[in-house]
Amino acid sequence: MSIKEKIQTYLGLNKERSAPPPNLLAVAPGLAVYTDKAVAWFRIRTSNSDLYSEGESDNEILSMIRGVSKILQDKDCHLKIVWSRISGEQYEKESELIYTAGDWRRWVADRADRIDDLLLPDRHILLGITIDSDRKSVTNNHVINSATDMLGIAGEGTSRRELDYYLGLIEKMARPLRQSKLGAQIASTEIIAWMIAREQRRDISVPPTTETITGASLHKLTAGRVVPYVDHLRFYDARGATSAYGSVLVMSDFPEIIETPGAAAWLLNLSSITRIDDRPGFEGDEVPVIADASIRFKLLSRKQTLKKLEDTRTLAREQRISAAKHSAEETSDEISESEQTTREMIYQVNREGLYLIEHHPRLTVVGATYDEMEANREAVIAHYAEMGITVAPADDEQRELWLETLPGDQVRVHDLGTIQTDVAFFASWFWGGSRVGDTSNAGAIGVTTGSTPGISRFNPLGGGLRGDATTTGIFGRSGRGKTTLIQMSCMEAGFQGAWVTLFDIKIEGAGLAHLANAYGLPAQVLRVGVEHSGSADLFNVFDRNAAPLAVARQLTLMAPKSMKGIAETVTLAAASTIAKSSFEKPSTWATIQLIAQSTSPETAALGAALIDLAQTPLGAAVAGPPSGKRVLREEPGVWVLQLPGLSLPGPQIQQDDWDANQRLSMAAMRAFMAHTMEVASQQHMRTMPKLIAWPEVHRLLRTEDGKDFLDQLARLGRALNANLMIDSQDATGISEIEGVVEQLSTVFGFQLTTATQQDALAELLHLDPNANTRDLIREMGFQMGTDGETEIRKGHCIYRDWRDNAAFVQIDLPTAEIQEMLSTNPDATATSVDLNYEDFELATTTVEAHS
């Protein structure tokens, strides 16, 4: 910079301030052409960084620097972080491809309304790279335009050849950017056009769906009037009335030392700014503050970096020598420090390949009124002040600063720039955020609550559809929302025409059947009684080779405590004999009969005891005479299976101390779990999408062979392409079953409070089991109430999807009605209505079976 330019900049008279606004000539995929330049635009993918450990976080920053420093070096770059609203309408449109059964349109409409109510911001990160900065002289062009204006002939434009040339350059640039940690994709024409138009009007909330523009005039994109005032801008609509108030803020001072991970993530934090509402009727509500960011930056080449450092060091040294020669004797501490720091930096540039980045960060806040804009501005300033970053409103230069934030413009206000090392700049984590869940073909189950909020999708049938592992694990302590999540998933699967069976151990799921009925899905509560004798016989589930062992274990479990000694060998021998016999349909009942007919009095007594148990309602289904009547339905719908009289032993009672009912209940639970698998394996159900939900599986682990049994079922589920959802309060127990862990494609982790359980959950979520993770797992179940007291937060969990992304999610039910129906509270409507199970009627809606 020459002395003249330095003085001009000092006095705010540099020529860039007077430059005309960018004159847009053409927009194409990834490209915006202006009179004087051409800019390539890329969309940056959000990285799922919220739950990174320190090591992962540091590695990603270093990989990012390594990946992009060569590509972006010495180029004028423009980073834009802009926001839109997630719209319910768009969600409805996307859902048309997902559902097929019941009144799914109403289900989707309810969810869409809820999305609109939540006013969720949607972040878009765009990176502009100037690929031609010397296209035409703006001054010459002005002269040519004036002349053509006078003559009334067509003026400037772009040729097809020129566009092709630029598009070729962009393609070349896109490849390494896509492979880098930026995951950059060429921005579509529609997104570029939306971004440009948005700056002018400030009233566009939703970006267009891609590839919708078929032809339009560019002047429509830039239509709008912006009037700069001393400290703010006013945006005017077509009728000339104020449509929005805005203010461009300058981030002018950063802490000298920036450490990661921590508060250094100044661009990631952009989405967490809030303020307290003071409007009448809303006083005290916390409202999000949306601030757009525009950062023009240049990653200096090694040569430029060294020159900058050398120049400063030379000047500082000259000052030191000059002061020593005169009465000052020594220089100020700042100059001494500059000399020392630049010396160290030069060493790092030469040895470690350090880069310097010069950037000009600006934030734009808007409001429907001046007061709202002012409140937003104050909230942004206060938010960054807490991080040690000075954000200041720029009086008398709103015009220049606003123009500077426009795509295709340039740095106009030079004297408020910042120079940082590569680590300090990339520690801003502009690409970071929360990204979890299915991206398409899945309904919303809640919202991500991390640094970038958004809707979170989950398809409980996804594993089967992808041909991937099919088990979803839900872990956490009681009363945190596990059952609600399972019931929501059952509804989602039901609308996709699936066969859904929920094993309702605690007799609290009738509301699900009510709700499914209300939304036009076939649904019923299925209660097991004596008439279903033999329906859950393990001989029906396993083949003749595997069945004897499974049946023997089952009968041993049921056997009275005093007969345990002989039960194992006797039952296995009897079951093997029956399996090898010529019976067309071997059964547990036949096995018991064989035992009872033994000549040994002890064995016969065991048989008699088992016959007694097999005549109870629960025992009949497991080991009673085969009646041929099934409990479970075999057509698509939502089926809630209940076992009246089930009394599972609590964790404090040892297996040896279980009473007859508890032993029978445990055997019945295992038998019906196996039975659901057997139904799912029917030939005519092979191609049908299936979801089987088993809550409370930790209770299974209380038996000696429980782990093996669960492992066996998980593998069977995968083989049958049946999607399983298991819920457990015991993450440690599940994490020890390798076969089940291997089958887990998705995990939801709710609050757990003991260190052992938290570590096990961390492993299942593929997070580092350390003190920080333990704190996160404990604290996610609490929140601050409006009175400032801690209260329980239900439905808040960590969701690890099949892509191995993990983030915080709040499970959200679309309406209060649904919430009431799926409530597991004892006083909820669904459990308080008079449930005459025979009255459940199948909905008449046609269900299109998945083919």
Binding site: E156, L163, R225, P228, G240, E256, T341, A392, D395
Partner: protein, 179 residues
């Protein structure tokens, strides 16, 4: 843990002049102040000299005092942007009053006329002048009363010969590339 550095201040060394024409200046005077001071004195005195001629004992203060005041006050940091000096803000305010409040219409496609500027009373207020000329002055008008007026359409919306209408959609681009 990684550590990054902000080097803005490190690289912005305020050089001092410790000696001028053999005269030791003690702790030194910032060079930019010295340079500005010389320039301001030269311009001010030159201007007065051209208009009124050489100073007399009675008018000598008019020749000396204003440049000194400008220099002393103007080089103080601006309360609301410590990286700036008041002199810069004076310059920016002058620029804003003159042309900084002109509307930007259709991203500059139609040049603004004088009707598109805000009223003078909105461009500068007494409180703003107080902040600009009294170092360290706090803001009094937290919510300045600014006139709310609508802008009526003046002149044509866009110059008629601007043909800039090339908008190639993603689909169209794919088709073009196939050809």
């Amino acid at each position: 843990m990684l550590e990054g550095k902000t080097l803005t201040k490190t690289l912005d060394v305020e050089a001092k002049q410790h000696e001028v024409l053999g005269l030791d200046l003690g702790e030194g005077i910032p060079r930019h102040q010295l340079f500005l001071g010389v320039a301001i004195v030269f311009v001010w005195v030159g201007l007065l000299f051209l208009v009124f001629g050489a100073p007399t004992p009675k008018t000598v203060m008019i020749y000396i005092l204003p440049p000194i005041l400008i220099l002393v006050i103007g080089t103080q940091p601006y309360e609301f942007q410590p990286r700036r000096r008041l002199l810069t803000q004076w310059s920016l305010k002058s620029r804003f009053i003159a042309k900084g409040s002109r509307a930007i219409i259709r991203s500059g496609a139609r040049p603004p006329t004088r009707h598109d500027s805000i009223p003078l009373r909105d461009r500068v207020t007494v409180d703003q002048l107080r902040q600009l000329f009294i170092p360290g002055a706090k803001r009094i008008e937290l919510n300045p009363a600014i006139s709310d007026h609508t802008h009526t359409r003046v002149g044509s919306l866009i110059l008629t010969n601007r043909r800039a209408v090339k908008l190639v959609s993603s689909t169209a681009a794919k088709e073009l590339s196939k050809k």
